[in-house]
Amino acid sequence: MRPISRAVLRPYVCPTCRHGISAGRRRFGSKSDSPDLYDVVCVGGGPAGLGLLAALRASPITSKLKVALIESQDLRKAKAWDLEPNQFSNRVSSLTPSTVSFLRSIGAYDHLDVNRVQDYQDMQVWDGQTGSRISFDWSMETSPFEDMRTVATMTENANLVRALLRRIADLGDENLSLFSNATVASIENGSDLKPEGPDLSAWPVLTVKPTGPAAETETPKRIAARLLVGADGINSPVRSFADIPTQGWDYGRHGVVATLALDEPATPPFPASKRTAYQRFLPALGGPIALLPLPDNHATLVWSTTPENAAYLKSLPTPAFLAMVNAAFRLDMTDLTYMMGMQSSSSDSTSHQDELTWRAQHTPLPSQIPPAATAVQAGTVASFPLRFRHAAQYISPRIALVGDAAHVIHPLAGQGLNLGLADVASLSKTIQYAVSHGMDIGDLLTLERYSSERYLPNAKIGGACDLLHKMYNVPGEGPVALARSLGLGVVDRLPFVKSFLMKNAEGY
């Protein structure tokens, strides 16, 4: 992280330039030129941005703040989002218990459609190369009299976003401006409104432009922010304005996602409500495949693999795609590598399935494999590039970054969104503290509470995901694989991976 003292050096408009600006503004008359003032301006209406807004509006300490949120997508559509009960969006995230309790504390959880979310209590993780295995079954660790502990709760991002929007609507629109279908055209430092007005030369001033057809008719708005929050995702314009560099790389992997229907489990779960998430590391194919439970024997697939494999998988007809998914949880690396290259044509759509059936007969199957996937929901097969990014710092005078704008990590532990909402929980607490102690919420002295609380935990979890990715990307039986199998075998009872995937996943 760049030392904070350097952040103070963020290039403000130098006094001479400022002079030029104020000379200009006098000519145009200062009334129309002075921006609307807001306490918090949040760029980005994804889960992080909306979470922050809901948290600020829900707290009696911060509910009087004047806040604005700018989102280039249509928030009305997001609020009206609706799907058939048996259809699920392919953008699904696992919420850890601490994320769930945060969402409860701001009154947003009750707005989730609970028929669309699925808790799971058990997690089976194993190495496809060595077979070594680690299981995360809370029911083993809790006494039979306790309720089963939830490892995580699966929810569609759209369900969460809609819940947050409903909660925000619930809390009224006083002192709230939602700029939907609007984008940030520019951010610059304000100017000194001498002699009558305040000195805004250290305040970020945003020009907000409508997107779509309204762009032609509506005039852009100028708004100034006491605190500008970048919740604007991986390519954060707020981060660029603040001149905060990021560190990172592309994994050269894609995450293939899809919504699947699964077979009934061979043996019914015990207790009956127990659900399991499955993850198998496939070193030869470039990353793990995971199946995470959704209601009614549905599951969401996240398969991290090379871009070539991802393209191949996406090109397959549905029966072949399903055969590949099932094979990936069952066959050995050699068989899988072979099947990844099989010619497929629509006339011959059973060849993958035949191959799987034949090869599975000759492969000893471990006990923990998931039920077979039987159907793919139409239109849900997609892929995303996987990347690692970490901003050099989260704060700068009058600026804070949250969520993917601050960090993007490998999805293999399903932590990205949770880290973002943990940021939001911390930042909203920081703002509450500042307001109740007379601090300026945009001041570095305020914001450093937030960054010191979040920077290291995020770096630690991002780094652990990166390490796991690398460990499980060395194909073959070499020393790394040996270390791996030792690793998973031994570590099953030891702190690191387990506490990483469970305790950290649980939060705090």
Partner: protein, 363 residues
């Protein structure tokens, strides 16, 4: 006038040296510091020329969050909490009744911050003054107005400049709910410096009140604050006793005088003289900020306040004087700075260094 003694030359050399010794990796702290230190000619003498030149030289980096005042900035939230804990026991304002928790309090208290420096506390309290005085108070400090005074012209100017960077605070400055005055406590009491803005008046505002100050009663404040000032009083020209007595005089009956200072004990000597003023990166304040002999112990403050209460009561020695002293409502709690964690109030640590104290002027 007597305060500007001809020792100015060697002093400014010392100030310069102390400034250099505390230069941090962060840039231009002292580059733009005024070479000469300006001081208003004051009619009184509790002001020490040494102190003034020292603090004035630090003006330019007063608000740098990584600068020499960082430690004061970090302590500031605790001041709000300590004040809130005092006010919870009662205030001078009849409308503030701590027992009636059913109706939310309105912000009605008038504050005087003595020795405000660059305004770290004054500005933060001004930020909590509601723009609409009739609504519920946003914080338990219940501020309706803030008058902040300091004898250093440089610091007051720096404080005003900084306040303009917050539109809310700027608005309070414009309407007069928040004032920075380059003056001394003695002048405030003499009515030479200030016209108190009536808390309820919304018209008070931008037009300065031209009425003759001498016709006004002495300013009466609900809370007088004195943060890290007592140890900077010039012992040659004033005494903490007379200074504290004056603070009490500015207070309404039932009001609170609240301060913080550093005690003169062995652990505190090590913490504040040896460690705090050691060269960067160990030290946290510039050399010359503290003069050991000026530190005051909790018992001393308490004694002066007892004496001061009697004097401020102005009833002569005869009636009730000692009763006032005995029935004095006195609060004191130590505060310790733990690097990496920050300031924490630690009851019982009063002798270790910094501590908050408060006294209530009985009704």
């Amino acid at each position: 006038m007597a305060s500007l003694r001809p020792r100015a030359l060697p002093l400014s050399v010392r100030t310069l040296r102390s400034a250099l010794s505390s230069t941090r990796p962060s840039p231009n702290h002292f580059l733009s510091a005024p070479a000469s230190t300006q001081t208003r000619a004051h009619s009184t003498s509790s002001v020490s020329a040494d102190e003034l030149s020292h603090f004035s030289a630090l003006a330019s980096s007063w608000w740098d969050p990584m600068g020499h005042s960082r430690i004061l900035h970090l302590m500031n939230p605790l001041r709000h909490e300590f004040i809130a804990s005092c006010l919870a026991e009662g205030t001078s304002s009849p409308s503030q009744n701590p027992s009636s928790t059913s109706t939310p309090s309105t912000a009605t208290l008038n504050y005087l911050d003595v020795g405000c420096g660059g305004g770290i506390f004054a500005e933060s309290l001004a930020r909590t003054i509601p723009l609409d005085p009739t609504g519920p108070a946003p914080t338990p400090t219940l501020a309706a107005s803030m008058t902040a005074i300091d004898p250093s012209t440089d610091l007051i100017q720096m404080a005003r400049e900084h306040a303009r960077m917050d539109p809310t605070v700027h608005e309070h400055l414009r309407t007069g709910r928040f004032k920075y005055l380059n003056t001394t406590l003695e002048d405030v009491l003499a009515g030479n410096a200030v016209t108190l803005t009536p808390a309820s008046s919304s018209t008070a505002a931008s037009t300065p009140n031209p009425s003759s100050p001498s016709t006004q009663p002495a300013p009466q404040y609900d809370v007088v604050t004195l943060f890290e000032v007592l140890e900077h009083i010039d012992p040659k020209t004033s005494t903490p006793l007379s200074f504290l007595t004056n603070c009490l005089r500015a207070l309404k009956p039932g009001g609170w005088l609240i301060g913080s200072t550093i005690s003169r004990t062995l652990p505190s000597f090590i913490l504040n003289q040896v460690i705090a003023e050691a060269p960067w990166p160990i030290g946290v304040v510039p050399r010359g900020t503290h003069e050991w002999s000026k530190f005051v112990n909790p018992g001393e403050v308490k004694g002066w306040l007892q004496e001061g209460l009697m004097r401020a009561a102005d009833t002569g020695v005869s009636r009730g004087g000692s009763a006032i002293a005995e029935g004095m409502r006195w609060k004191c709690v130590g505060a310790i700075y733990i690097p990496g964690i920050g300031w924490k109030m630690v009851p019982g640590s009063e002798d270790w260094g910094n501590y908050f104290w408060a006294v209530r002027k009985e009704i």
